[in-house]
């Protein structure tokens, strides 16, 4: 029996509650999506709360103002550094070192990670080695680096490189391993040889994951900056902080920290931007 829609509705009695209350909305729930305005607002709130807490702590007498300056003092120091002491040059030097060393690290780690992730035998050969290497304390290599590379930039760059390259290789290999076998097999049955599959599928599929990993490891790189620039440093954020330390200018040190944090945030944002731009196909897939 087929009934038309109209029948079926008028057939039954009128439904009891024509206007039921809406779904309970909760401030915190799983899987919520926030638009960028809300994210910005929340992010700013978080930062403001932190700065306020810092202000309170600094003025609560936990330590002398000199040793634990508040946000205002640090801001002043920062302004002074940029205006009076040519801090911009230091910042540029540091960024340059980070970028060069990180590019080198990627250039070394990416082929290794790709091959390790793709081929179990290469992984078997290298993983135990690189896995141990990533535990190595980069600062312990300073004497050797000084000896081989001198006191110039290359030594600092090498230090930054050593600090991340092994982690990077291991983590990029982890990313590579995630490629679903079905993609590889599809490419094979379409006539793809090993090299073709490696590049057009394994590498290509992993690319967004690589970028994410690089974003995380770049942050690690920044934390090594201070160590790298202590040695034979003439310029750079770390060198400035070292000098400031000699005369207990904690406000300058904190200004350096703030600078690094802000640069870090900026790089993070840049990565995310490139990510959105280069990988449009990862956006807004509403499939569950």
């Amino acid at each position: 029996m087929t009934v038309s829609l109209r029948d079926s509705i008028t057939n039954g009695e009128a439904p009891a509650r024509p206007q039921a209350p809406a779904l309970k909305r909760r401030w915190l729930d799983f899987g919520q999506q926030l638009d960028w305005r809300r994210r910005l607002l929340l992010g700013l709130t978080g930062w403001l709360l932190f700065v306020f807490g810092w202000y309170l702590a600094a003025h609560a007498g936990l330590a002398s103002e000199r040793l634990f300056p508040g946000p205002v003092a640090v801001m002043n120091a920062l302004v002074d550094l940029f205006m009076e002491q040519g801090f911009l040059g230091d910042v540029v030097s540091s960024i340059r070192r980070i970028l060069i060393s990180f590019s080198l690290a990627v250039a070394i780690a990416l082929p290794l990670g790709l091959l390790m992730g793709a081929f179990a035998r290469i992984d078997g050969l290298l993983n135990p080695l690189l896995g141990a290497f990533r535990y190595l304390p980069a600062p312990a290599f300073i004497p050797l680096l000084l000896m081989w590379l001198g006191t110039g930039d290359s030594q600092k760059i090498a230090l930054l490189l050593i600090g991340v390259v092994f982690f990077l290789a291991i983590m990029l290999a982890d990313v590579t391993r995630q490629v679903p076998a079905s993609f590889i097999e599809t490419a094979k049955t379409l006539g793809g040889g090993r090299r073709v599959v490696l590049w057009t599928v394994v590498f290509r599929h992993s690319l967004p994951g690589y970028m994410d990993t690089c974003r995380q490891m770049l942050a690690v790189s920044w934390t090594y900056l201070v160590i790298a620039e202590i040695v034979a440093a003439t310029d750079g954020i770390g060198a400035m902080m070292m000098r400031a330390k000699r005369f207990v200018h904690v406000d300058d040190i904190m200004a350096g920290i703030v600078t690094i944090g802000l640069l870090g945030l900026a790089f993070d944002a840049l990565f995310r931007l490139v990510y959105r731009w280069r990988f449009p196909y990862l956006r807004g897939a509403h499939q569950r």
């Binding site: 029996m1 087929t2 009934v3 829609l5 079926s8 509650r17 039921a20």
Partner: protein
Amino acid sequence: MHTASGLIIEGAGKTFRAGGRDPRVALEGVSLQLPPGQVGVLLGPSGCGKSTLLRMVAGLEEPTAGALSLNGRPVTGPGRDRGMVFQSYTSFPWLTVRQNVAYGLKITGDHSSLREGAVEHFIQAVRLQDVADAYPHELSGGMRQRVAIARTLANHPELLLMDEPFGALDPETRWQMQELLLGIVRKERTTVLLVSHDIEEALYLGDVVFFLSSHPGRLREVIRPDFKKDVPAGDREALLDHPEYRRLDMHIRRLMSEEGSTQGQPA
């Protein structure tokens, strides 16, 4: 039948507004009723909003228009009274079959059901007693689907929602699962609303079939295969041979073809 009994959907609509993109009207003005103890089947072309409707009933998706109620209580969020079996065999991989089935009772603190052996009962009902201590990854798709069904049933929901529950099973398993479902529905007097893509399944299981049309999703026709009263219960062959079955089958195929020809846009 009490007025406020069973599932009542009144003018339900849903418009998705994803960040920055055009709003997409998935459902519009859908009104339907499903009395207690009956099996309702949602049928319709891909993308017509069947899953969306089911999720609205489950309380997982908020309607942007209209209202829903079950046995007189308005739907305001997910709840134990409306159990859902998802299309994607979602058994928890870290729990064994037995733990999966017991999960709902555990988290709702239903100790009496646990004591009374509800878990073992439903494991047996879906015939998984041999693999009760296995992890889901050791099971086939059909078995995992049965775990999900047993877990939902053990919770004694008033309404059982199923999104293409048997879509990816082989025919024999599928038939078995259909029988199982009907047996349980009869025994426990559970109300069921399920999504199907299969006309035979819809007509075999459904007391009432809701055919949705797409773009936007609306209720196009309500089909009641009442002729099933004349056929001995569970006799599939007799059913398939019934002239009324064949007429409805052809009718739905025609509806589908009509809807199909209006498709072809990106989802």
